[in-house]
Symmetry: C2
Subunit: 334 residues, 2 copies
DNA sequence: TAAATTTTTGTAATCGATTACATTAAGGAG
DNA sequence: CTCCTTAATGTAATCGATTACAAAAATTTA
């Protein structure tokens, strides 16, 4: 494999000149530039990035830490990240933690080892304090999760108000007894969505009934089980709002399983708008997160932070919207 | 950020000794080893991987080139890759090409630039000749796609015989007029699955009717359209075998759309066994690929190839199996 | 034409580890 | 007690680029 010195010799110049041609830093005469380029082509020269990285003390790589890559929600975010990264000649290292806190911290450590220039945490299992501490030292942006009061760059939607909008919608359809299936309550977004549900009820003067609130864990099966508990109530809800689409699907399965109709007997709403939401029957009414845009935006902020670590942290709240499909009794729109 | 020389000074030894402690290469007295370790801890020292990589001329990174990360089929393969990579202290760079050949080649170039030690192509858009040529020069393994007669490491299932099994199953249920929706026929696996379908028909003495074969492109909508063409036939099929699950879902939608029942009027079979297959109604009978295992196996072969580039190329064929669910009229098994 | 300025090119230090080779210390044999 | 072997440690070259600084060449100005 040819190196720079080989190119230099063949072109009859010094390595510095070759490096300048490579960097495109104008200070080379047209003539020698051509000579060098010819030599590079002849030797099929590719610059060694390991050497460049060491000299420049950067890796041109960022790590995306995600709990589980096979979750379709995350892959759209990753695509957004990847797109911006590619535009700026950055590589994306995959940090699939399998929901393990230790793995999460290990991936973050890559930065201290200079194997990466920055991290994106797409949700975090590590404690807020710890993350805050880390963010002081390395370029870090959190996507999809809001850590309250933290001096930290974050890109999210407003989980509280969007949940409230769901309640608005259900109430406007005449529902007064609305069940809620939350995510794990140790996760912040779960609590925020619950908060929005509760404040939505209050806003419409509906009384809050704790038996209508069930805790799931974002899986289809937990949605199924939580929905069953709601259906077992003496007075079951006429609508169920699940904190993500998977649980909404579990809910639909549970309802159908009892011989009821969706939306005829019970309306269902989800959250996230993953692809399955359009495929399931009835197609799911759900809060659509701008996943791709979240990824893009997060990466842009990270790039800024890498270039200028003293950039003021910012919390970007992107707009979401409620996509009305069939599962609440509206005609299919799309 | 402390470097090795700082640790050396603090411990009162030379950098060589520190390096030896780090490498765990026995030649250090217990006493100095402890001194050095104390110093490392005190300075919170992390070795600079950029420097190590340059010196060792390796990046400890591999690239996974995939057409589209938001396709759930690929993410399971990636998880398998990632697991093995992690076990061997390798990082996984994400090469999402968005189905662009140029991007594919660019990611492969990362190896020549020493930014990666090997590549995994999870399917390939580049021409077989080109891939073969590249594989001579760099450690490369192809997953999920079989390139005929090539001296190339590959990990796949047997697409021909598994498709034939699907026909076997449908015939055993009494179907004699079986429609087939292929993937794009410029892709090898599409042709293999078609081949299996055709030989399956032959095996059971069924005549081949070209109007029963429709070409799709692996998307839900192409499945929908292809199925409609089949339903428009004077004598429509009683069963449809789609070359992947997405197209099978499109097929189910098309059938229901005309007021027919699945499996009552028409049976449907898919291929791949992605998560949606279990969620759709009726749950899809489909060929289950060992996606995670494909990933694991591919990565293991790549590691071998990196360590010893002259390793003989091998083609591993992993076992798949037909998962019988509801879409062909069998009771739900799972 | 000589001096001043600008442009182009080259020399060598540098990034931070690893490791071949040299050196010193320690232990064992005679 | 000396010589030899082995273990422990240190010195300095090395990986392949980038870049500060120096030097040479070309151009402009007077």
């Amino acid at each position: 494999m040819a190196k720079m010195i080989d190119v230099a010799k063949l072109a009859g110049v010094s390595v510095a000149t070759v490096s300048r041609v490579l960097a495109g830093s104008g200070k080379v005469s047209k003539n020698t530039k051509e000579k060098v380029e010819r030599a590079m082509k002849e030797l099929n020269y590719k610059p060694n990035k390991l050497a460049r990285n060491l000299r420049k003390l950067e890796s041109k790589t960022i790590v995306v830490v995600i709990p589980d890559i096979s979750n379709p929600f995350f892959t759209d975010v990753i695509r957004g990240i990847q797109q911006v990264a590619q535009q700026h000649d950055y590589y994306v290292l995959l940090g699939d933690t399998g929901n393990d806190v230790k793995a999460e911290l290990d991936f973050i450590d890559l930065i201290k080892e200079r194997a990466a220039d920055g991290v994106i945490l797409v949700t975090a299992r590590t404690s807020p304090e710890k993350i805050l501490e880390i963010a002081q030292e390395v370029p870090l942006v959190v996507a999809c999760e809001y850590i309250k009061g933290a001096h930290l760059s974050m890109v999210t939607i407003d989980n509280v108000s969007s949940s409230q909008k769901v309640v608005d919608h259900l109430v406007s359809l005449g529902h007064r007894r609305i069940g809620f299936i939350s995510g794990p309550l140790n996760v912040i977004i779960s609590r925020d969505r619950l908060k929005g549900y509760v404040s939505g009820l209050k806003k419409h003067g509906l009384e809050q009934d704790s038996s209508l609130i069930q805790e799931g864990d974002f899986t289809i099966s937990s949605g199924f089980e939580s929905a069953n508990r709601l259906l077992d109530l003496a007075e079951p809800p006429t609508a169920v709002f699940a904190s993500n689409d998977e649980m909404a699907i579990g809910t639909i399965k549970a309802i159908k399983n009892r011989g009821f109709q969706v939306p005829g007997d019970i309306a269902v709403v989800g959250f996230d708008d993953i692809q399955i939401a359009t495929v399931i029957e009835p197609a799911l009414t759900t809060v659509s997160q701008p996943k791709f845009e979240i990824g893009r935006c997060t990466m842009e902020i990270l790039l800024e932070l890498i270039q200028n670590p003293s950039t003021r942290q910012e919390h970007v709240v992107l707009p979401e919207h409620l996509v009305i499909r069939e599962s609440c009794g509206y005609p299919l729109v799309r």
